[in-house]
Point group: C2
Chain length 289, copies 2
């Protein structure tokens, strides 16, 4: 099945629990009629003041958001619990454009508002094409290492995700580490001092790993250890930094290893009982040396 | 809320359980971009040989159907159980057009197939407009008596539905019958010999009424009677015909009184224990005399 059509169908299904959102979003997609443009549903945006908003539709290529404003619509910080934020992808905002579709209007008026959004996006595409910065939506490749090979660094704000551990290792040009038949949870990364590549996931039989709603802290705890605390003890005696890809399931049900930045061990909070606390110290990493 | 946009949103939601149907149907709606055209989801069609098909989308103004053919799609008689048929609306076919969208193709090819459907519908609109037979979709009025006032007769095949008992009585130009504070379940209809207007529903505290999947037979049974069988006894001693509007909930959750034809008492099967059996003897009724 074509990846784009399957993605948009999943997105429309996700929209279908709300009232008119599915009408508005499907109309934007079909009238824009450009499958080089990616759309993302229910995007959480972190503002510079630390608050969050949830927007109904996000165009990652243009930092452009659409809100479908129905009666009962909310966008307040209070309503967005940390529960709802968990496992959501968060873009770091400020300077993003937000356009509101007011659905209390007539069908003709709603259509006119959607036409205006389409004009805005079309202008944004034209501008990027003139400036040669336009990157077409490419779901067949955007989760592969090759797609990022030309970059000098990866930025968290670019919401980079890879589909396998093999792709992570290929991007950083290191060998996939094996442990007998198993793949290890991390790999050495010689170009950066005292730093490894790490790809935790929030579910694993042997590990309890959690990432905070704002993606700034990760807790790591080994479970079912023969000698509890062994792993934490080893790391505490050998503190280091970790270039981290956290494995999560996005709102449409796709699972990827998502780049979360470089994390440093928080020695003050980490111990053999509570586990290890990792805090983000950089929102980018060099991949060319 | 605008009735059209609310209806299409409900329709898209209904579509959202299946794979690509929501993509295809929403694209047809938005690119056709003509809110004078009505679309109906999951339409059951009775063929002249007595078999049924289920089509994904139906344009009642043009007797035109669209099937979204995904892997695993079925349209066989065997799979359509009488359970699934219950409470569905059924159009009587033969001569209807059916267009299949093959979703195993590329996104470009699927778009081309949808373009072809839109050309067909646009041509059908143009033809009806030239012939002055085009009736624009009008959900604000199509469930009201006034909408049908110009007709000489009602036909089952036209899938006529009214929103209230008052509208039924207005259409047939009879007084809404009262029984104390309650409305009665039927009204006299003087222009036709030995015939009354009837509006049963399949749920009522005092009545067990069922319509067969093919809408050709209705069973009626009074429950909680002081003297069981009293009602049946009365009708059996006074057999008559009934112009029938059956109250049901359509696939999108709208409740209407739907015209089902003229029914005659089947004296051979009806009795005080099993209730009354009504069989359809006419699929139309005159409303002008």
């Amino acid at each position: 099945m074509n990846k784009k059509i399957e993605y948009i169908s999943r997105l429309l299904k996700k929209m279908s629990s709300k009232g008119l959102e599915i009408y508005v979003i499907s109309r934007i997609w079909h009238l824009l009629d450009n499958d080089e443009v990616k759309i993302v549903p229910q995007q959480y945006v972190r503002h510079s003041d630390g608050t969050y908003s949830l927007t109904d539709l996000y165009f990652p290529q243009f930092d452009f958001h659409v809100e479908v404003n129905e009666p009962g619509h909310y966008i307040t910080q209070e309503k967005i619990s940390s529960d709802a934020l968990r496992e959501k992808n968060i873009v770091e905002s400020s300077g993003h454009h937000v356009k509101v579709i007011n659905c209390t209007e007539s069908i003709e008026n709603i259509h006119l508002q959607i036409d205006a959004v389409i004009r805005d996006i079309t202008a944004a595409i034209d501008l990027q094409k003139r400036e040669k910065t336009f990157k077409p939506w490419n779901p067949e490749f955007e989760y592969k290492a090759e797609f990022y090979k030309n970059l000098t660094e990866l930025k968290v704000a670019e919401n980079i995700a890879l589909e396998t551990i093999e792709q992570i290792c290929e991007l950083f040009n290191v060998k996939v580490p094996k442990m007998g038949y198993l793949r290890k949870g991390a790999a050495p990364f010689p170009p950066m001092e005292n730093t490894i590549l790490w790809w935790p996931s929030d579910y694993n039989r042997n590990w309890e790993n959690k990432i905070s709603p704002d993606s700034l802290t990760i807790t790591e705890r080994a479970v079912n250890e023969k000698n509890p605390g062994d792993h934490a003890f080893g790391v505490l005696n050998n503190p280091h930094n970790r270039v981290t890809f956290f494995k999560d399931r996005d709102i449409l049900g796709y699972t990827y290893y998502r780049f979360k930045g470089v994390f440093q061990l928080d020695m003050s909070r980490s111990n053999k009982v509570d586990g290890l606390f990792w805090v983000r110290v950089s929102d980018f990493v060099r991949i060319k040396f």
